[in-house]
Amino acid sequence: MSVHDVANAKKRKQRATGFSEQRTGRAFLAPTVIILLALTILPFLLTIILSFSRVTFEGGGIQLHFAGLANWSRLFADERLWNAFSNTLILVVFGVSVQFLIGLGLALLVNGKIKGQGFFKVLFLLPMLLAPISVGYMGRMMFDYGRSPINDFLNRVGLEPIGWLISGDVALLTILLTDTWQWTPVMFLILLVGLQAIPKEYVEAASIDGATGWQLFRHITLPLLASAVLVAILFRTVEAFKVVDIIVIMTGGGPGLGTESMTLFAYIAGLRIFDIAYGAAISLTLFIPVLLGIGVFLAVARRYRASTSG
């Protein structure tokens, strides 16, 4: 073996290890990418195809036929869509706002010098880890018309009992309250982490300079908390659009269609009435407000950031 050969072999080996280093990197990513492509992206594309199809069942099999815009034109004429859409939007907008305010308040309180901090943290986090199905049942037991603690309380302070789950005027509010009970912890958690990341010296320095409570909050805490606020609202907004579990248990979408959400509507149309193609079209409309919401929110946030840093 000549010197030349040895040098060549070395070079080849180097090239090989460089190559394998790249391959190793990709191997680390591969399982995640593959499973997401197979079970999120692929079904998403299939749903788009489904929404332009007619599905028939023959001999236990499922056949797809191209149906053009039939599902879509039917869908946009369907009042049930606008009902489900507005119900969902109300739950998202009011739910996220209320949960943000309560979550922020609780995070500020818990982040102060208080006794029993650990206890409050554990307790305030807990509801987000419970099964929404179980929370739905708890909600029903709390809001039930005849024998519930809440109506009993109203009765004792001299007010009329409320048909929380059976009256069309308040059922959506009841869902919103239950949703708030379960998901305020997410806001609390993200904002608390954000608050804890703020260096104590900033606040101390400002308070030595004579800043009072509200000024401290407005000019020191809030700007430093901006990215946590952003994450919290964005995360909860995306999740809130998916609301369904507690509705299934508490009202089943009723009374009438008073609390039917987009997800529930898509499920009922797709797998209970068993019009899968129509269900696919319904579910896809849910994607539009989610993307729009994210877009608008990020644009606003970017402008806000530019204005504070510039």
Partner: protein, 283 residues
């Protein structure tokens, strides 16, 4: 004067904290006590305090352990198997991807590491109902409808982004020098990953696993759409109580109490890690 104001402030702080604590605790208290109430005590209006308002009974717990055990054990077993195995894979895949993203430079088209991470995490944005109908058809053709495997696959896909998100945060905090030393000494990447990185992030892996486990344990919609009678999970069993025979609150309360036990164990034992590990703000 100042002292008085501080006292007032303190009172207001604790007042508000205790009010929310009461709001959180009361429904839990209610469901647990209802699981010990006689039927009459449930229907004769709210009875609050055991031994004062009502005499507690262990009948329903006894009942579930004897008469209805088979009804309960199947779904609990299914939920355990599905949640455990899906979370295991989600955490393995997530840890691998997080390590890859932290230690290698990628370029797919114009996507670099940050874009890839964002792409992975953004999969959570997709409302599950959108993919569920298509998955229903896919699993129909694959013969996987109403099997544990279907839900395991789906939950891996649903929870891997969370695992990647959390593990990226944890791995980015590791000192890189130990790994470099090992690489110089001739260890391979795979050896470094298994022998050095994994032991260092083992506690974080446990936290991530438990969180994925809880999410899978609680999941309802996908289970509802992709399984039938053979693969009932615990949330499906609980939901079915109401559809099948009207609300029998005492039985439901027992099931609900059972369903929330893992969450309570998790949050009490891991609250410190949860708060630290979950959200890498400002990254």
């Amino acid at each position: 004067m100042v002292k008085k104001k501080r006292l007032l402030n303190n009172a207001a702080t604790y007042g508000m904290l205790l009010l929310w604590a009461l709001i959180v605790l009361f429904p839990l208290y209610w469901v647990v006590t209802t699981s010990f109430k006689e039927i009459g005590d449930v229907f004769r209006g709210p009875r609050y305090i055991p031994w004062v308002d009502f005499i507690p009974t262990t009948e329903w717990w006894y009942n579930i352990w004897t008469v209805q055990r088979r009804m309960l054990l199947g779904p609990v077993f299914n939920s355990l198997v599905i949640a455990t195995s899906s979370s295991l894979f989600a955490v393995i895949f997530g840890t691998m991807a997080a390590y890859g993203l932290e230690r290698f430079r990628f370029k797919f088209g114009h996507m670099k590491n940050k874009d890839i991470l964002l792409w992975i995490v953004s999969q959570r944005v997709m409302p599950p109902v959108i993919t569920a109908l298509a998955l229903f058809i896919m699993f129909h053709f694959a013969g996987l409808l109403d099997t544990k495997l279907a839900l395991i696959f789906v939950y891996i896909a649903a929870h891997t982004p969370i695992a990647v998100w959390m593990m990226t945060n944890f791995i980015s905090q590791l000192p890189i020098s130990i790994e470099e030393a090992a690489l110089v000494d001739g260890a391979s990447r795979v050896q470094v990953f298994f022998r050095i990185v994994l032991p260092m992030v083992a506690p974080s892996i446990a936290v991530t696993f438990l969180l994925c486990f809880i999410f899978a344990w609680n999941e309802f919609l996908l289970a509802l759409m992709l399984t039938g009678g053979r693969t009932q999970t615990l949330p499906l069993l609980i939901a079915a109580q109401h559809f099948q025979r009207g609300p029998q609150w005492w039985d439901i309360s027992v099931l609900v109490t059972i369903s929330i036990i893992p969450a309570i164990i998790l949050v009490v034992s891991l609250q410190r890690y949860l708060i630290k590990g979950l959200i890498p703000i400002g990254k």
